[in-house]
């Protein structure tokens, strides 16, 4: 036997460099050591610098009194509350912008993406102008410009006064002013739980009915007018419950008082400018994703569907969209992430998001830059991971099941 027994070959130190079996290990160990020493160097520098500045590393400042006011809060907050509470107000505000912005951006993006493929020349051109315009100009500029539009062109509250007022409320209930928008706001009277409970039940009923109708269609081929039945389920029980419970939920309309509108709900102009600009900007990117997704489906698919005798609406909803969705969703996820991260530009219009409270006023007041930035980055990181996790889970559900 002359075969060489590889495992018995004597190990030499040089094999760490020249033998591909060990070399990757060497590289990794070197990388690890380099990373560790870099981290140690940074931590050491930080400790030295902090002690030179006379600071320590602690999060106790979160429990101290914040002492500043926040103009727009969704949860109760006064300037006697703690910094942690102020940060929470900011977090809720960020989430609000991100949530409303994503919904609005999706609506705008899908509409514009479809319109851009329209056979109508002028509509397609306008959609293209919208997409190119918003994609090629910085979002910060759009936020500032939207703010300027609201401040400059919307009427002041005083313009609504008098017999020959220059401005009037839309439908007599919504007032668009240069301070923000005043809208009717629901008031929950005694017994509101009945109505809300009925509403939740009817939503569940809609979901159950949808499943049942689909199963029935799969089994028998008969198609129910699901849309109208669902709409009925959505509206009627709530209306009936509202009547039975004695109309506990009513709307509070804004009314013009001496200096300003009172009552109703108030959407600050900074919130509107930020949300609108972010949605329009992100909508342009979503429109491109939607267009690419629809174009990725070959013409043969819609022709085959037409040959089966489907009408154009059903071709869209049963054949094209389910396939296009798989192409659209991954870029859609990253656009949602971008919108959420871009909401940190709120500072440009003075909206109190988490970057403005925790990473702005709290940081400046307490001088805890390191702790505040760590918390801020941690928050955004967790939020991003949550969004991408959720959307990836959804993507995996709709993904093409292959073998």
């Amino acid at each position: 036997m002359t075969s060489i027994d590889v495992s018995r070959e004597q190990f030499r130190l040089s094999m760490l460099l020249y033998d591909t079996r060990y070399r990757s290990l060497t590289i990794q160990v070197v990388a690890m050591i380099a990373l560790m020493s870099a981290a140690a160097w940074l931590v050491n520098n930080t400790v030295e610098n902090l002690s030179a500045l006379g600071k320590d590393f602690s999060f106790r400042f979160l429990g101290q009194r914040a002492g500043y006011d926040i103009s727009q809060t969704l949860i109760p907050y006064t300037n006697d509350d703690t910094h942690a509470r102020a940060a929470l107000v900011g977090i809720v505000n960020t989430l609000l912008v991100a949530f409303v912005g994503c919904l609005l951006a999706t609506a705008i993006g899908v509409t514009m993406g479809v319109l851009r493929l329209s056979r109508n020349w002028i509509v397609a051109r306008l959609a293209a102008v919208y997409v190119d315009g918003f994609r090629n100009i910085p979002v910060l500029l759009w936020i500032l410009a939207t703010m300027a539009v609201i401040t400059d062109t919307a009427p002041a509250p005083s313009a609504f006064r008098g017999d020959n007022a220059t401005a009037s409320m839309i439908f007599g209930s919504v007032a668009v002013t240069n301070r923000g928008v005043y809208v009717p706001w629901p008031i929950f009277g005694p017994g509101w739980q009945i109505v809300v409970g009925t509403f939740l039940l009817s939503v569940i009923a809609i979901l159950v009915f949808g499943r049942w109708a689909k199963a029935r269609q799969d089994a028998t081929g008969q198609i129910l007018p699901t849309f109208w039945i669902k709409l009925g389920l959505f509206v009627l029980p709530v209306l009936i419950a509202d009547q039975i419970a004695g109309r506990p939920i009513s709307l509070d309309y804004p009314e013009l008082q001496r200096f300003n509108f009172e009552g109703g709900g108030f959407l600050d102009k900074s919130f509107i400018a930020l949300t609108l600009a972010l949605s329009l900007y992100t909508g342009a990117f979503i429109a491109e994703a939607v267009r690419a997704g629809i174009q990725a489906i070959s013409r043969g698919q819609s022709e085959a569907a037409a040959a089966l005798g489907l009408r154009s609406g059903r071709i869209m909803s049963l054949v094209i969209l389910p396939q296009a969705l798989r192409v659209i969703i991954p870029p859609l996820i990253s656009q949602y992430l971008n919108l959420t991260k871009n909401s940190s530009l709120a500072i440009a219009v003075g909206y109190a998001d988490v970057r403005a409270t925790l990473g702005g006023i709290t940081m400046n007041q307490t001088g805890r830059e390191l702790e505040c930035m760590l918390l801020l980055m941690g928050f955004y990181l967790i939020l991003s991971l949550l969004i991408s996790g959720t959307m990836n889970w959804y993507n995996a559900r709709v993904a093409l099941k292959e073998r």
């Binding site: 460099l17 020249y18 070399r23 990757s24 590289i27 990794q28 160990v29 990388a31 690890m32 990373l35 940074l42 520098n45 930080t46 030295e48 610098n49 902090l50 030179a52 329209s118 056979r119 109508n120 020349w121 002028i122 509509v123 306008l126 190119d132 315009g133 994609r135 090629n136 100009i137 910085p138 979002v139 910060l140 500029l141 500032l144 410009a145 300027a148 400059d152 992430l337 991260k341 871009n342 940190s344 530009l345 500072i347 440009a348 970057r355 990473g359 940081m363 830059e369 390191l370 930035m373 801020l376 980055m377 955004y380 990181l381 991003s384 991971l385």
Partner: protein, 434 residues
Amino acid sequence: MHDVSFVRHEMLSPQPAPASQVGPLRWARENLFSSILNSFLTIVSAAAVILALAHLWPWFAHSVWHAGSLRECREMIAQRWGEDATGACFAVIRDRWKQFLFGFYPSELYWRPTLSFVLLLAALAPILFSAVPRRMLWFSIAFPGIVYWLLWGGSLALPICVYAGFLVGMLVHRLVGPRFGSLLALIGGVLATLIWWFYLAGPVAGLLETILPFLTLEPVASKRFGGFMLSIVIGATGIAFSLPLGVLLALGRRSGLFIIQSICIGFIEFIRGVPLITLLLVASFLLNIFLPPGTNFDIILRVIIMVTLFSAAYMAETIRGGLAALPRGQYEAADALGLDYWQAMRLVIMPQALKISIPNIVNNFISLFKDTTLVAIIALLDPIGLVTSIRADSNWNGIVWELYGFVALIFFICCYSMSVYSKHLERRLRTDHR
């Protein structure tokens, strides 16, 4: 037999097509009024366009280009076109355009940024267009050093010594390579470069400076940079450095070496998970805390580093997509040819992966360039920061659309030409047969 024929003997002369089937009428029928819904959409959008133009046109037509303040502008418009006429006051751009271009750069030194910009075009030419001679690439490589010297001033010795570091590294690589193998040569080269930069470059630069004093320009502080010059400096540097860094990160993420992979994934996901603005805040508030006591380096440099790192993470994901899109056969064929890892990457994998990812790479460049405006939030005077400061000026208080419109137009031109170029590049590099 009848000789009555029911068949026409001679051909009819051809008739012109009906008016509804030719020319603009047919085009309009097909493209504008093909259905009721389409007709409705056409009319609504045409009305919207006409309304917008009707508002915008007088504003442009009544514009004023020579005035010292917004009040003066308004008076001139009212005098010339009537009391309630609207008009643009482009005089503000005329008044401040040097600031928009150069920020607060000393006006007697404007030739330096201007020359840098011209050189930038010259340096870009060989990269962008294949018709330009390849030898020009050496200039492109030398360009960053020259521009650093031109813009910030000081002695040319410093950039020369930085470049010399690369030469030293390559020299060591050459010397070590044949005797000890490629990996040791790489490590040796990198170490030699680092040693040169940290310990030798400073004294050598000092020596050079005393020998060649005429190579010194008047230094200009970073805080005087501003306007589009600042955007271009940050954007161009970020673009130039984020691509190679992104390639390395993408290769690291796909390397299969657990520790390297984890480092790359951690870095990429961290950067992609936080907004750029928080990184810029770190650059402006925190970077000094992480560095040895007493170091305090330039704010623009810090911003450039952060923007580059941020963009590199996105670039890495883009390139990873391109790498994943390549069929396995390409990797295996490269291995079968006996190429080592770096050769395979350089000669086979990367050219194809980069080609696939061109549109997304250029999209990354565009968003990087747009993101340079975020430095306005940490109080640097980029175009948007300038707009804010001009609006606060008592002469121009209340002016909005002229300024935003101007900045938006310039950004639009830059970004749109980048996307047009990417389409050109895609066409040029398309090697499949269609």
